[in-house]
Amino acid sequence: MSTASKAISSRLPDIVGATHVVVDPAELSAFVVDGKLPAAAVRPGSKEEVAEIIKYAVSEKLAVITCGARTKIGMGLSPLRYDLALDMTRLDRTIAYDPADLTLSVEAGVPLGKLVEMLVGHNQFLPLFAPFFHRATVGGTIASGVDSPLRQFYGTARDYVLGMEFVSGEGVRSKSGGTVVKNVTGYDLHKLMIGSLGTLGIITRVNFKTFPFPARSHGFLATFKSADGAIDMRDRIATSPLTPLTLEILSPRVAELFLSPAAAIAQVSAPPAGVLSRQHWTLASAVVGNEKVIARYEMELRRLAAESGAVNISILGDDTRPSVWGRLRESVPIMLESSFATTILKITVLPARLKDTLTTVVNAADKNQLSWAAVIRGLGVIYFAFLPDERSDAAHRAVVTATNQIFEAGAALGANATIPWCPMEWKNTLQVWGPERNDLAQMQKVKKVFDPHGVFSPGRFMGGL
């Protein structure tokens, strides 16, 4: 028995009760991160227990990885050390929901799906329409910083999270923000937690703004012979008075994947025949409002599509829209399902550089003979997936070369680029967190305040944070 496991088996049951400590290797295998098995997993039932566990981990110099449903546990670099898995799924209570104020406060382990059930009863929802929706927890979704198609209108978590409670790397319970919709009291420390991959603190509670469910919503799809046509239409929408809820562009391969068995993950029905084209680029946009508003949007979108050279236009109503939107939400998991070595780059650029950037990445893929798929969010976010046929050395070399070419070109394009998903054994040879940033030194200052002993996920985040 290692020192870590000896220590763990003696103290952890005192904190959370023996039934909530996992040491059995078979059971522990569920908590593997990039091939590393922790000495134990622990399931705290309260924020106080979380704090105790961290204090204990600090005293024993244990490395802790916090997890929820573990749907995104493969993101980031491989951990340098990993002693203890901290499973947050028992913290799954709703602390407060005030539908008439449109505010909600939940513990971090609440599954996104459970929230939907609660909110829908009040005709409300949370724009955290994130991938792995049917399993993911609130805490994991926030900590991993994944975005959603709804960001076009509602922004990202940083725009609708009102406050948080968290436990620091010294085991101290802390909070920032509050539960009201407008608040400038103290530093917005909770913004730092979003996308920090659990390296600053353990989120125990999140306070949200909720939103009224739109009265009626339609899906608008237009297909194009080239990406340029679809991007032209994006540009025309951006300069119009229209404010659609979503605005996404899909490469032909994504349409093909959406029609393949891999799309079963989305758990939605098949899209109506002819709506998605395997030969074309598709622009997909959701519009909401009363009948008159929707009619206006449809009229304008049809005009803009025609001006941009669309080949075909389809409208999806309330009943058929989820078949495409469920797939759009799950485009990352669907792409991950579609190859043994899916490697996904996330690239953000100024919208006016979308065309150049796309040309650059497609060239890099083609030159290295890699098949690819792309989902582009209208605000300037590209998810570009390499889909090699096999997890071979040749595929590995091709992906390394292509991604390095993209990073090099990306610098000139003012892009932020990372590789959120790739095969774990390729991580050490890929620039998972992209090229080094000039503000790393500032981030190190933050890390030192929150996690001075380096308890949280050592080695997984950018620049060794």
Partner: protein
């Protein structure tokens, strides 16, 4: 904290060094020149040792170097319209006023972004890009004077933040000088910069982490159509219940402001916007978006107002009428200033469901202490601005005003609210922070400050209560004339 014992005295060598950097007329240090800079829009007063006006980031770096050498605190300042003492030199020192760094460096219409120096006036940016159909959405009532650097430091709001979000939702990247003398860039013009959200931390840090030298902001498309409604009520309860009901039904107008009878009479007398003199309160509501949506939303809003016994719901006929109504709202604090020698304004926030109870409580507190209280505020966000009117020349009144104000804040907190929605904590509300945050919460924030601003060399003794002298009340009234308020 580094405020050296002699921080408030002007050292002749310090003056010499600053003069080398800014020229002989570029440094204010005579008492008569400093008076203006003792104040901001809040109730506090603090005199700086001297004032400088950098034109370049090199000069900002230069003044930081000099200040470090003399161990004298530095404080950044925009137009001085702040409402919590954020831009006051609490312990003396060099006040760095950014009004001369007021260039719009870049407008990128295609990508809906602009790069500005911190001293650019909020409304000037919107005016400069209006011909492109864009605007800078945060619109504090002081927008004709306040600077974007100040907005970013305070995370300013404004009436239209109800639908468009506050300043932090519109900032992409920041270039700034740390008190350690480093020039850094955080965030990025493209979305989702990699790593920790440092811009999210720096926006709203009230000038305690860095001196801003360049800001990249989002520009927002102007709506196709806007309708402004004025709903007139005979009771306060009907007015607040209208707002609560509108929120509960999920109707989010672009702005939803409430003016009670007391303030709107003052406003009408001043602006002549057509506010009804005999009503208990009005709601000033903007709905915007595509034409078809605006029409139906305006109808919905009017219907809810009528359901709560609005005596009348007027729709502004044209942009002139709309501008006049909004002028009344945005100048309201100044108008109230005509009614009394002094007022004290608060910025508490409550859940929208608690509006009726809170307004009733504020009225009771006013009666209990014998002060008239005017209410003019961002009702749609639950962000209150009760104005307590009193005579500051009477020492006993001042004490009672503070007691009344504390009772209001206490009630906001009991309702699940916050002590400040947009004005900031600054040096005005630091003593109230323990009402919301534990010592552990505050310590973590203090440690974050120390990581970027060691020894509190920059803007000392703000936001967080000083552990040494807590409980001390430093609130002082200010004369109201000319004050620009949100």
């Amino acid at each position: 904290m580094t405020s050296a014992p002699d921080a408030k005295r002007m050292d002749s060598r310090l003056l010499q060094d600053l003069t080398k950097l800014f020229g002989s007329d570029g440094v204010l240090h005579r008492p008569e020149d400093l008076i203006l800079y003792e104040y901001d829009g809040s109730v506090d007063v603090a005199r700086p040792t001297c004032v400088v006006f950098p034109r370049t980031k090199e000069q900002v770096l230069g003044v930081v170097e000099i200040a470090k050498r003399y161990k004298i605190p530095i404080v950044g300042r925009g137009a001085g319209t702040g409402l919590s003492g954020g831009a006051l030199a609490r312990h003396g020192g060099i006040l760095i006023v950014f009004s001369k760094m007021n260039q719009i460096l870049e407008v990128d219409v295609e990508n809906q972004r602009a790069v500005v120096q911190p001293g650019v006036v909020n409304a000037d940016l919107s005016a400069a890009v209006a011909h492109t159909g864009l605007h800078f959405a945060p619109d504090p009532s002081s927008q004709k004077a306040c600077t974007i650097g100040g907005n970013v430091s305070e995370n300013s709001g404004g009436p239209h933040t109800l639908a468009y979000g506050v300043t932090t939702n519109h900032v992409l990247a920041i270039e700034c000088v740390l008190p350690t003398g480093e020039l850094i860039r955080i965030g990025s013009p493209a979305l989702d910069p990699v790593g920790y959200d440092l811009s999210g931390l720096f926006v709203g840090s009230e000038g305690t982490l860095a001196l801003l030298t360049e800001i990249t902001v989002k520009l927002t498309r102007l709506p196709e159509s806007v309708k402004t409604l004025l709903a007139i009520f005979d009771t306060l309860d009907d007015t607040t219940e209208t707002v609560a009901d509108m929120t509960a039904r999920g109707i989010t107008p672009a702005a939803c402001e409430m003016l009670d009878g007391y303030t709107l009479r003052a406003v009408e007398d001043y602006v002549h916007a057509g506010f009804p003199l005999d009503s208990a309160a009005v709601l000033l509501i903007d709905v915007d978006g595509v034409r078809e949506a605006v029409e139906s939303q305006a109808e919905q809003v009017a219907e809810i107002c009528r359901a709560h016994h609005a005596r009348e719901v007027r729709v502004a006929r044209d942009s002139n009428e709309r501008d006049l109504l909004w002028k009344g709202r945005k100048n309201a604090f100044g108008a109230v200033g005509r009614l009394c020698t002094t007022y004290y304004v608060q910025d508490g926030v409550i859940p929208r469901t608690k509006l009726p109870a809170t307004l009733r409580r504020i009225t009771e507190i006013g009666e209990k202490y014998g002060f008239p209280i005017g209410n003019i505020f961002h009702a749609g966000d639950g962000n209150l601005h009760p104005l307590i009117l009193f005579d500051a020349r009477d020492e006993s009144q001042l004490k009672r005003v503070i007691a009344a104000s504390d009772e209001i804040i206490q009630f906001c907190i009991e309702m699940g609210g916050s002590i400040t929605g947009e004005h900031g904590v600054g040096m005005e509300k630091d003593r109230l922070m323990p009402l919301l945050f534990s010592e552990a919460d505050l310590d973590l924030m203090r440690n974050v400050r120390a990581a970027f601003n060691p020894d509190e060399f920059l803007n000392p003794d703000k936001i967080f209560p000083n552990k040494k002298g807590c409980g001390e009340i430093h609130v002082r009234p200010m004369p109201v004339a000319g004050a620009l308020r949100t």
